[in-house]
Symmetry: C2
Subunit: 234 residues, 2 copies
């Protein structure tokens, strides 16, 4: 049977061989949640850019510039890191250049995967259904917070493992831990995460509405994947 | 209030500043469990040695040579990595040179801590009582398995946090995750860990008795600490 493993931080990626794997990159609050929302609202493509200045320059080439550093919008960028900014007609058919503190760095570290998929709670079932059809074993790469492990990305890994029960087996202790945590949290994830350091950090930015949105499963059916250097719809 | 944080893998230690911290190094299966058992049976000191050949050479200087690689005893070493080897009269008053796959590497990475303490379930309450008296905030460093996160060390972190409730506050998402996992596991840790990859790996070596011993809390009251380059009793 195919296996599923979880890399709890991009700083541990050197321990995983991903050339024959489907890697699911997840940054629930909020990079991958934004990206999925944008594809659900018909953006053409998203270029993940690890460096802030490289991202800024993409405006000259007709890109919408998007992203954050430390959870806050970057000066001169068109858009920040709230999914509600990616629901309008203004992004339809457009290209976005996207940089974030953790999410786009995680994508960079997973770019040699056999297949790179963008996941979040808002497209959880769509990702699970896609991966069930794939022949590749799976690694969930949690973006974390500046290299540290965070709860919300770990919970997503657990949720994906639960949805895929019977199709995959956990390959290490991290997926087992993620599944246990999700099973404990799933009754009320907002409450479970209220004690989380990252959620506390973001709450100071008044994004409670974003958090609730990002934790609501299966709002969209889109599955963004990396093709060459861009994220596109499957 | 003092804080408590958890570094889930030695590969994440560069993210933590430990110069003003008490670091508790834990490698439940089985390095720190062996070390604590040895001190409870009156070993004089233990020199943690990261390199296998360096450890072997210590025999010339009168040391007992101990340790493992990949869970198995090393050829020509006096002792392996089962706590039951550290209960006899033969170690009383002696010096041990100790090398293991994960535990001694973790000690090496934490050597600049304000205070370095050796913890395991078998001395859990003694470690908690000692740390309550210390003014330093705490980082639990889980030795893991070859850089990867494992369940048993994470559960120890959760157990320590539970024992210290009221004296410390969790400082990040890792300690919160560890506490949740421990609360789910504590009713029957042996059963909880039966699905763990590391326990499965070790079970192949027929060490069920070791595992049960290493998961039984509060068998000893000794607290080994690093002084210069050696572990000694507090």
């Amino acid at each position: 049977m195919k296996t599923i493993d979880v890399c709890l931080s991009p700083e541990l990626m050197h321990l995983y061989d991903v050339q024959d794997k489907a890697v699911v990159v997840v940054d629930i609050l909020r990079a991958t949640s934004c990206m999925i929302t944008a594809f659900a609202h018909e953006v053409q493509s998203i270029k993940p850019v690890a460096d802030l200045n490289d991202c800024k320059k993409m405006k000259e080439f007709g890109f919408i510039t998007s992203g954050e550093r430390n959870g806050e919008k970057v000066e001169d960028f068109d858009k920040g890191n709230s999914p509600f900014e990616y629901m309008g007609e203004d992004i339809k058919g457009k290209k976005i250049a996207f940089t974030t503190t953790n999410g786009t760095q995680a994508i960079e570290k997973a770019k040699h995967a056999q297949e790179l998929v963008i996941g979040a709670f808002i497209n959880l079932s769509a990702v699970a259904e896609h991966l069930k059809k794939s022949k590749n074993s799976i690694l969930v790469l949690c973006a974390g917070w500046k290299g540290r492990v965070n709860l919300e990305d770990t919970l997503f890994a657990g949720a994906l493992i639960e949805r895929m029960t019977g199709d995959v087996v956990p390959d290490d202790d991290s997926p087992i831990a993620a599944l246990h945590l999700y099973q404990k949290a799933k009754g009320n994830m907002v409450e479970f995460l209220n004690e989380s350091s990252h959620v506390k950090r973001l709450s100071r930015l008044n994004i409670y509405k974003d958090i609730e949105f990002c934790l609501t499963a299966d709002q969209y059916k889109v599955v963004p994947v990396l093709k060459d250097k861009d994220l596109v719809l499957l």
